[in-house]
Symmetry: C2
Subunit: 291 residues, 2 copies
Amino acid sequence: MRISIIGAGAIGLLLGTNFSMSGHEVTMICHRREQAERLAANGIHYIGKTRKNVCIQASSRLSAEPMDLLIVAVKSPHVSSIIEQIHEAYRGGFSPDLLFIQNGMGHIEQLSTLSQNILVGVLDHGAIKRDDVTVEHIGAGAIRVSAFTGLPNDLQHLSMKDFPIYYEKDWYQMLARKLIVNCAVNPLTGLYRVQNGSLLTNARFYAIMRELVRESSRVLGLDFEASLNNVQSVCERTALNTSSMLADLNAGRSTEIDAITGFILKRAEVSGSDVPYSRFVFESIKGLESR
Amino acid sequence: MRISIIGAGAIGLLLGTNFSMSGHEVTMICHRREQAERLAANGIHYIGKTRKNVCIQASSRLSAEPMDLLIVAVKSPHVSSIIEQIHEAYRGGFSPDLLFIQNGMGHIEQLSTLSQNILVGVLDHGAIKRDDVTVEHIGAGAIRVSAFTGLPNDLQHLSMKDFPIYYEKDWYQMLARKLIVNCAVNPLTGLYRVQNGSLLTNARFYAIMRELVRESSRVLGLDFEASLNNVQSVCERTALNTSSMLADLNAGRSTEIDAITGFILKRAEVSGSDVPYSRFVFESIKGLESR
């Protein structure tokens, strides 16, 4: 398959490496020309159980060349500008299937402006971008995809034993379940500066996490107990991980709090629902960002 | 006046120094014999605008010797054991007036077991105990006292220009006003690891502080706007201070969260009132303490 990946952060580089290693023709599309040039020259340096160097193509702009799948792996706030570029590149011509992999659900409304077949995906791999061409795969996981519009595109042939892709029937349930995990784990690990496992081992932190799960599952219409079980199992599996939000705060970067807890606050406001615990972490993370 | 001070922490040492310097006969009563011996041998080393060494008497136990005023300057959790010692020492005999200086209102119920004239006090001096015999006076303030039982004992002759003591008519208003300040400032500075002034300059932190003031003033029956104004003015005056709760967390000590936010939670539970922001900070500080 010819696969282009927009966004060469940790997730984009991880996908690029794995799809290239299984024989697909991968092009990374980067925001910065410098990164594209380095990737085109050096490939991706992958640090997993072993170290590998993987050849890929790279470009700093999306062109209308034929491809089978275009994966959008940028952070949620950048999705709207990517959608504009997609409109521009494929105006009236051939157009690949699209797969959007973002945290939260803030980007969902924007997808309806596109006429392509659209898949949405979530993933729970742990990955860290070490530099522009280096990604470290610190926790094995899975990718889950679901059809947002159009026919369910079968990505079974992309799935590998070590890098599985699962198909889910209901995109809303899939994204909402992941969003609840993010709402519970990310802000609290950032605020308390702890690894994910502390939210289970520290009874006080757990009590607050429970309230966040209660609020977000209520707002999103998912079952509370099932959501809490899911959050707990993610915390167990990723106990020693530093969440992306804690990493962002430590590095002085802005976080994904708008796409995560911010989405819950907006939905709660529409329905007139009170979500004080969510508001507490939202304002706190925003405050810590601006320090 | 013959003044005994139970508790040789930052506040106790500060009071001892100032009352001794203005000619009163001061005895410090310490929990640890070692500290009492060092204080008796060396006096208190005071670091203020100038450095001074102040002679005082010191003991590691409360005796029934005649005195005019006994000041209890221990942290709130230790008040109950001090009250037992007072009962023991003054069983049936002469008994001085008592002044209790604690944060929060958790100790108030216990005071009614005492038959003496009782004053309660709050203070907003900044003071840090550097070692067992050294106190640094980092922020000038005032002491406020009010009669809890008995006749209002006039402490005017204890008041000094640089170390004023103000009398207040209503002990409940006085303690509740101070408690609201502590509920707003202490947990948030501890959680965000910032100095007091950040709660005013960071709009996100301010938004959460406002909610804490709203909850605690509602629970305690004080006016919200007046309480918020008071909290703001304290934050302004102490902008560069590290709150005692942040200092306690940094040093790995337990904090006064039970006496502060814990009191609000108990009162809210009795009245069936919902205080999610207060509960958030309570559980968070408890969780950070136990790390």
